[in-house]
Symmetry: C3
Subunit: 157 residues, 3 copies
């Protein structure tokens, strides 16, 4: 059954402001093209032979999509928040690993954290890293709540 082992995936990140933390999160999802679907949170493994999409095409409103996500919200003016996902793809695209990080830091720091986690995950499994991808978003809170979100959305077809 195709929902069970996804075929395609999209990696992206965005930051946004909103009237509340939840609206800020929602607005970041809208920027990523996934504000009108239902995210089902996953732990974080890439199926073999996944095909990467450049963008999220139209999907039915309310469709359930398995998604790995990292997110942080804040309403403390002056604070910088970041979220990142690091994706390691094995040689020959036989599978991959996704690690998440979010915190009060710059996106470069969040990217460095997920890079280290991907390296450790591959070393632990004895897998060879064929490709490393990262998506990160950073925002400095002004007068409204803000959110930073990074996602890998998986598609059953």
């Amino acid at each position: 059954m195709s929902w069970m082992t996804p075929k395609r995936a999209f990696l992206g990140a965005a930051a946004a402001e909103g009237g509340t933390k939840l609206n800020a999160f929602d607005n970041a999802l809208l920027k990523l093209g996934i504000g009108n679907v239902n995210l089902v949170k996953l732990s974080s493994v890439i199926p073999a032979h996944i095909e990467w999409m450049e963008k999220v095409h139209d999907v039915p409103i309310g469709m359930l999509l398995p998604t790995v996500y990292s997110h942080i919200e804040s309403d403390e003016p002056g604070m910088t928040i970041s979220a990142a996902l690091g994706v390691g793809i094995s040689e020959k695209n036989e599978g991959g690993l996704i690690y998440e990080y979010s915190g009060y830091c710059t996106k470069e720091e969040a990217e460095e954290m997920v890079r280290k986690m991907v390296e450790e995950g591959f070393a632990k499994r004895g897998w060879k890293l064929g490709e490393f991808r990262v998506a990160s978003a950073e925002i400095t809170v002004k007068d409204k709540p803000a959110a930073a979100v990074a996602v890998v959305v998986m598609f059953p077809y």
Copy 2:
């Protein structure tokens, strides 16, 4: 595949006490008729043309049901806790949005929060609000742990 874009939904809320916080949560789910199924947590979008159910009918024990839920537990005597879900349905039932809130507050305050979030979500998308529904539960902790839960359970058929 029907699991992927739900067809029917149930909106409800309940509060309960229990011997532990998790049992209190469980007891609130039992009141809602969903204590014997497996909730798969969703972010929060209503598919187009959803049909609303008045109650949850018999479902197999352990069935996986995609569910948006807001919940809070407390074991601090004297504290009042509330959970709410606000559901906005677009004109012509072409989709909808669910926003969640829970906290140390009254249910009226939680309802007001989700109402604002629904309004912002609709404004951001340029959608017209056809109908607003809300479910909320409130409980004041006495001598046992207590939970307040609000849910939208989605059904594949």
Copy 3:
């Protein structure tokens, strides 16, 4: 559809160290044979007539598996952390309940917590407890982050 009401399940627990808390969690999943799948978190009910597996057999990398899990991570040297799942099976295997606990405690304490929760859940439903199973893991943090994880992984076939 088989994803919707699982047929088989695996109960296990493990603890591990890692370079980060997330890698420690990942390493514990690897010990359990589920480091290369995607866990979809469930609330916690056992379907009727479930068949228990002794171990997790090969599954495709990145497959989505509904899983109940309890976990805790720590990087505070000297602290002992534990995670447990308690599983109560009704007489005649007509369904069951899973309760989770994790905290800064020994695994015996975590086991005692889940046992009590299972008993309350059965009493509340008027179900008769046919069998009680428990899985727990404990680790004392040394110089690296550590994780304790207990899981019930459910299989659609």
